[in-house]
Subunit: 362 residues, 4 copies
């Protein structure tokens, strides 16, 4: 358990940083969806290492193979298995980390929990695990777009204390992809890139905030009580490596307002649709989408693995210092953008099917 996400549109990921490869099995995909390996690959390319000077130089093409579940370019309704082989592995970089625990990394807790650990490249705790999520997210996005024209756009909102100005109502994928840090505010983006390069040179790392908007989301996705849409979104993104916080709509800042300031008043638009004047709810009320834009933010901590020397202990508890070798991202944010989008897509797609299941028969 623990490697499966979703109920009706359900994914199971597998694989480690080093070894045979990583992948995903997608179960419950609606049949007859047209999707090509190139469409999936396009999302994987946004996630892959070595894509720019501010990401890890590990050079993986992350070429995706579809093992099952497709026929003549269409889904068949049976499990879609996707496999990406590991190629550019350098186990020797991890020799030292086989015994020395990286501070704030999963090394120690994996060892404690399982008594064994695939230590090369972080094993299962490696961000390579998210390949399966991003690939599955590409399929979920396509379904959502086809059914309702849903657009899911993530972007870097803040790197350390450098914040971009972005309008979630109008931001486009092109704007996001126009620079390597994936911040649509190009002025801020330049400064962010400079900062990341500087931090990398220092052998250190930084974090920040990814914001993600989902537009054209159908009403009625999400469920009362435990499977509220925001609860499932929170779980989805908080399961990404390095995430430390989640907000929807007004989030923590909303707690500074009074109810009369915070509430989203209703009105009826020219087409007779019930809408809200403001959107502090972030597109979800009572756990259920209301048709307004869904807006979330995710905090990502600075990368744990750094070249700077740190105090730590070995797996036998001996005090040592560690200056990590290997190829690591000085900042995960640019590559986290497609991961956040994927989790949002997976949650929305699952709830689309669940809503159809419960409410589409009578």
């Amino acid at each position: 358990m623990g490697n499966t996400f979703g109920h009706l549109f359900r994914i199971t990921t597998f694989g480690e940083s080093h070894g045979g490869g990583v992948g995903v099995v997608i179960d419950g995909c609606p049949p007859r969806l047209e999707i090509s390996v190139e469409e999936i690959q396009a999302e994987l390319n946004r996630r892959r290492p070595g894509q720019s000077k501010i990401t890890t130089p590990r050079n993986e093409a992350d070429q995706c193979e579809i093992l099952s579940g497709m026929m003549d370019g269409k889904t068949t309704g049976t499990p879609i298995a996707l496999l990406v082989r590991n190629k550019d592995q350098r186990s020797q970089d991890y020799d030292e980390m086989a015994v020395k625990y990286r501070p704030s990394h999963a090394d120690a807790t994996y060892d404690e929990k399982y008594g064994i650990r695939s230590w090369q490249g972080g094993g299962r705790s490696s961000a390579r695990e998210t390949i399966g999520r991003v690939a599955a997210g590409a399929i979920a996005k396509k379904i959502l777009h086809q059914v309702a024209g849903v657009e899911i756009i993530g972007y870097v909102k803040r790197i350390k204390d450098l914040e971009g100005v972005v309008d979630p109502e109008t931001v486009t994928l092109e704007q996001v992809e126009s620079n390597i840090v994936r911040c649509p505010d190009s002025n801020a983006a330049d400064r962010m890139i400079d900062l990341i390069e500087q931090v990398r040179k220092e052998g250190d790392s930084i974090g920040g905030v990814v914001e993600c908007v989902a537009r054209q989301v159908p009403k009625s996705l999400g469920m009362p009580v435990f499977d509220k849409l925001e609860a499932d979104l929170a779980k989805g993104v908080m399961s990404l490596p390095a995430s430390k916080g989640f907000e929807i709509g007004s989030g923590f800042a909303g707690t500074l307002l009074t109810g009369s300031e915070h509430n989203d008043e209703f009105y009826t638009d020219e087409n007779g649709n019930i809408r809200t004047v403001t959107n502090r709810s972030g597109g979800v009320q009572g756990g259920i989408s209301n048709g307004e834009n869904i807006i979330i933010r995710v905090a990502f901590k600075p990368t744990a693995t750094i070249r700077k020397e740190q105090n730590t202990v070995t797996n036998e508890g001996e005090a040592v210092t560690l200056a990590a070798k290997g190829r690591h991202d000085p900042c995960v944010l640019p590559r986290a953008v497609p991961m956040v989008e994927a989790m949002v897509a997976l949650v929305l797609c699952d709830h689309l099917l669940r809503h159809q299941g419960q409410c589409g028969v009578l």
Copy 2:
């Protein structure tokens, strides 16, 4: 679906604000746990309405009946069903809200999703639903305490912009319960209470932040990938009514640090235990508890239902104004404290059993 939480220690809640009652079925509880209805009731009393001048005056004793799953004061390993009858119902207060949608409430989305709605008292979206969670949480707390001495203590950290100074290492339940707003910083508490009373008089509402610490948590709870401990904690508390944000450890503030500033260096303590010098991780690394204190924060928005007049629409889309009648909390925070504790307890207890299941056989 959507009304069940947990895998091995699994709860299913039922019931609406008005009607036969609310309750919970707890499946998977370990056998032979000694627990009395009084212990469960004690937690319910911390959650119940009418407990102080700053909560809703709806007067419910919330007396809990154990329907099944117990024998001679001990759990039997079979489902524990708990029922609380609704008593102090005033449906007539909701007559107007049967047709007028409360801004930022679940009225409109429930109507849209299901085409029918139990409108009295908010029906299933009422905070009364959390009775089942708090009752189940009392049992989860007892298990955790018995197995490992776990202490779970929540408290109000901030009301609007009034923030208390609290040390999660040392805060006690007695300090939390020493005032009606449940902020262990008594100076801040006084100001918080004044502010809530003032806001109530204005017919408005306010929100804030609950912090919760879990101490003496065993190592190894939580799982890699989707069921990371922080992901399940996020889902748990983000499924509470009115929650808008979640943080663990350093949270959003941690994104302002560099990796070398943020990382928790390891050391070996006098007993040979591997510990961390700092705890920006909030007790979880790689999704798995590391034995340090688990610390989370939850943002709660100002209560949606207010007496102040607001613009809204009817269920037929007609523009109207609404000044909500009924008895509502001007601030949910004091009563949210036991709810947050309950969700933390449920997540930890479920992961305790899951860890035992996977790793306890070989």
Copy 3:
């Protein structure tokens, strides 16, 4: 775990033979279904003890209370909780069985597994647990009937070696209910009743076979691989107390034919529907319903609890004899009929929603 059944239309039962009562929470029911407590009660009355001279004389009205999930006689899409109080309890009948294990009963295995046991009336292993299933089944039946006119009719096919002649194509509920043993072949029924009465007098018990047909089942219910329709039907009925075997269509007898004898040839009927000439498949091919009648059979062993003296041991392993007191069914078959129907309805309804969820969006 273990007390929940179904994925989208999901039930959780609770309660023991003695104590507060038994019941069920139904999660995922489609909204706006009209159903009355009387309709549910009608099914419970077919299951209740004391209904005739050949069932246990324990006299329970099994009056059902709807605690939640309904509004103005319609389902709301939120959990429906149903409660039946225990009334006619005689704990003293079980004093001896608190320490003496009934052969072939759950007493010993519950004690071993949990180290504690609600011994009055069999506790959780009592057939009273099936009240929740039958109540939920009544709702599932109504949905299936409303959506597609599905008819689910169970009946006693055989008692010990007395077999009835029944045509599943045409059998009616009225025929089933025309006698107290629920065998539509009235000649066989008379002999069955005589045999049960005779066995009861001897302090012994007997078993037999229930057959159940589901007519007008929509095509496409069920899924490839693990959640084949026949697999879920098998699980459903094999979870009923006292069941020892399951068959669908030709079942064990079908293994005596060759493929050319056994295969159901296809033809196109006057309405252009693809049908099968024969129905040895029992309405399911490749795990998916094909629109033909679904026909299953379930073997129920003779009731374990008998008045005849038997050798056994106490919970401390001491050899003793036991002649069971209490009020027990000499033959569970007549009351098992509505239980089997309920499980079939629950499986079909769940798969109806699941199919709609996966295949109804694109």
Copy 4:
């Protein structure tokens, strides 16, 4: 959904007869289990086609690759992904069956349900899907053997009307594997082989019964109510292709006895263990294992795909005849033996972990 089995020891299979391959992801495997690819391969070899003159001549080595979840020959507690490439594919054999529905096969129902179908080799309905089950079953068997010395031995009990005499108490794997039909009664085996060869020559097929015993099973596996051990066993084996019936212990024959004849009397053995004199219960009472041998039987129908000409229709409903090309098993029983064993192992292993999870903490 539908391609996952188990709760704590959970498998998800993927793949079709033709295409990239078939495989399985095993989630929840206990860490530090030593297992080699050869041990898994040994079970796959018992299942593979082309193993003898009485199975399909399709020649697949079914060589298994471990993609993840292992380190230094031990499981790591993370998902184990296993992949078997398809090699000996002959799509052209299925050209005719792309449009003509095979009687009693999944062709028609898949087409109806999904509106698309991977028709080569039966696609997802092919018995190749069971490769993943058998591979996962090898791991489950190893766990069960290591924890408690469990032995799971399946064998052919009956082919059409030819029944072998086998003692489940003493039968060995060597006896089962001593002939190609996997019936430990060598006299019966010879006649069975002759019959299968004759039927093959006639272009027809036959079915039969597989019996499976699990010895040394720990007490306390299985749960009251829905997840009774026999219910999960029934679901497991009834999800195998071509299965039509399931029995445990006395099964259907047990319905011919009275309670006093059928009940398994208890006694205390020389070691102080509570045992039963007889074992009509088949090792399970009240849904929970009692430590006696678990004995089940599964009915497999004659293979649907035969060379003999049959009446059928095309996917457009046109009446045609079909004499199936391709390479098919005249009798699935010999290859079904390891499949049944695998499902029994998967169910027992999952319940072993679940029992440990609920009952191993207090």
